[in-house]
Symmetry: C2
Subunit: 280 residues, 2 copies
């Protein structure tokens, strides 16, 4: 079941990539872009990421499928703002890096016939803006879709089919389970990278090599976007941070004790996990 | 002044790359390899990384330039084992990731006419073994050379010229200053990456994406090599770890206080440092 009119709310890196992929792969007959930034809309039109641009209610009224791609702290309010304009049968989703708070805010608040299912594509970049839009961004990537017991199976199927049409594979998870998992696999790494970058005195910058660069790559991400993500998932991020702190304390104890065997065992544990990821 | 006979002690990733680069760039007329591993020597001969292989005293007796490329906890003893066999005028260096402990152990213990100056190429990989040897490994990379007040200027010039002949740029630093700097730019990132990899439960491995992969790249490094490096630089690594721990504590406090502005300011500080590295 192809989408007729796809509305993309927030035409940045992710929104622009969804628009481009949907057009290239003919997953939608028509794509309408919505953005608070006139420059982003001009870019989206100029690069033919979208067929047209519109305000939120107009786009929602015209669409049978809406993807909200704004920062996580704006997503719920934009879904709730779009929904009253939607026609029955319209399905909304989003690409937020956290899910539980958004799902809680939206569920039970939509007009009859209008549905919402949360999504989170495990794709992206420390870059942002529609100029980095990439039609291949979702190919062979996972998209986590987070239904609840109240989600109807048809909506779940439609959302899953949409992402599959963009080349992604879909994994279904409970919203809270998603947030606990992503705290460890994504949110903690951002925090770790940022804290590591911040301890570098400027005069040592010329002595950094590829190791420092790669370990801190995520520190280049947008502070506005990521402070919202960390805040939206603060309980799970605090728990992940506590687990990480225990590992660092193990390293500290081994160093203080000058215990070579303990250091090697700790590094071997990290290597074992890392090597297990190699073929994925 | 070209090297006549270059002896490489430890023909792994770094030793093999030095051998290959020296031959390709004609920085040495002849290269002799020394290694405890027969397989490594066979590989080095088979791939023509070296002209010949020999035991440590024979190679030292034949060489006018010796580079010790073994794990940091073996370097000082191998320099001290090689030196008595060296002819006057022979110069020894190494590629260890820590410098102060090695320099202290060697200085004042060499026969007359035999000199040592420490080196540390900021090049390498989480891979190891001569099969990854790369003649271009040092091109446009920095090599830190660590003389002391007792180092004679001619030896410092010879070591610097050798690395420059392999395509590297040379930076001169005091050994203790080197170790404090590298604790932050290299040793702490290894520890951070390893601790992060270790907190990932196996069932979440399928949910990792490029962010987790890059942040933990260094966790694939050899636990044996890196436990020796961390141990050899434990005071400076503990200090770096303490500074990093303070940054993490700032994040924890901001999350506990649900303080969006504080989170954003912390992330902005990391981004500022990271962005300053972008053009290097």
């Amino acid at each position: 079941m192809r989408v007729e009119t796809l509305a993309i709310v927030g035409v940045g890196l992710l929104g622009g990539s969804i628009a481009l992929a949907a057009r290239r792969r003919r997953a939608a007959a028509r794509v309408v872009g919505v953005d608070a930034s006139r420059a982003a809309l001009d870019h989206a039109l100029g690069r033919a990421l979208v067929d047209a641009v519109a305000g939120l209610p107009e786009a929602a009224a015209a669409a049978d499928f809406v993807v909200v791609c704004t920062p996580v702290d704006c997503i719920a309010s934009q879904i709730l703002a779009a929904a009253p304009a939607c026609n029955p049968g319209c399905l909304l989703t989003d690409v937020g890096s956290t899910k539980a708070e958004i799902v809680r805010a939206v569920e039970g608040c939509l007009p009859p016939g209008v549905a919402y299912v949360g999504s989170h594509p495990l794709a992206g970049s420390e870059k942002h803006g529609p100029e980095h839009a990439d039609a291949a961004l979702f190919e062979r990537r996972q998209v986590i879709v987070t239904p609840t017991p109240r989600t109807d199976p048809t909506s779940l199927d439609r959302v899953s089919s949409f992402w599959e049409a963009l080349g992604a594979t879909v994994r279904v998870m409970d919203p809270e389970e998603h947030d606990r998992a992503l705290a460890l696999t994504s949110h903690l790494p951002h925090l770790v990278a940022s804290a590591l970058a911040a301890v570098l005195p400027p005069e040592l910058a010329p002595l950094t090599a590829t190791g420092f660069r790669d370990t801190t790559r995520l520190a280049a991400s947008s502070p506005a976007l990521w402070s919202a993500i960390l805040q939206a998932n603060r309980a799970a991020v605090l728990e992940a941070l506590a687990r990480y702190g225990e590992r660092l304390a193990d390293f500290r104890a081994a160093l203080e004790a000058n215990d070579r065997a303990a250091l090697e065992a700790l590094l071997a544990r990290g290597k074992q996990v890392k090597d297990s990821l190699a073929d994925r």
